[in-house]
Amino acid sequence: MRAALVTRPLDIAALVAEVAHPGTGATTLFVGTVRDQHEGRAVSGIDYEAYGPMALRELETILAEAAERFATDRIVVEHRLGTLAVTEASIAIAVAAPRRVAALEAQRYVIEAVKARVPIFKREHYVDGTRAWVDNRGGSVVATSPTSAVAT
């Protein structure tokens, strides 16, 4: 198991290779990428920020939970921080397990837990020049720039 917060592009092939093992028959990879739109607004990029020490601790906790629940410790997750352009990867999760069900379900467990619990925050940049912090519940959006803070 390995969790990391990084500021460089994610190397997907390296993560898949990292979990490989002769005893595994299934490998899954989940990659989150920056979309060009969000709720109808054209997006040009996303800033990812984290409460670093706690985010890393939560990621490690989630991997430990997944490892116990799905009986494989061949799981790595990397989350990228900083400003990402459309199509760039923000998160990659690779899991290898003896059987496919564990590999599929561990992957899903990790991404759902990351989205629910890990203190990472994102601010979308829109093509119209505005920016806003958004959250994974699709809930409140706080515009922060270039105008002063207003509810939207």
Binding site: M54, I111, A116, V118, I120, F121, W133, D135, N136, V142
Partner: protein, 78 residues
């Protein structure tokens, strides 16, 4: 006691990356949220969670001198 509270995202935009908060001895997370909430009154800030020593805290958790306390806005990882 004076507790330094870490802030992120929209809360950091509003108050900077940390905020000194005066709390009585024995104060709980709920008391901190009351103080923080009053400072945020009128601003469009999302309701946060609180972490103490890098773990999510319940409202009744007592804050100790020296604890690392953070206001966690809605998360958006992934």
């Amino acid at each position: 006691m004076t507790t330094t509270v870490l802030l992120f995202a929209s809360w950091a935009d509003a108050f900077g990356p940390s905020l000194a908060v005066e709390l009585p001895e024995g104060a709980r997370v709920a008391d901190l949220l009351d103080v923080i909430g009053s400072r945020a009154a009128g601003r469009p800030l999302p309701k946060p969670m609180v972490a103490v020593n890098q773990r999510y805290a319940t409202p009744d958790q007592v804050i100790q001198v020296g604890d690392e306390v953070a206001i966690i806005p809605p998360v958006a990882g992934g």
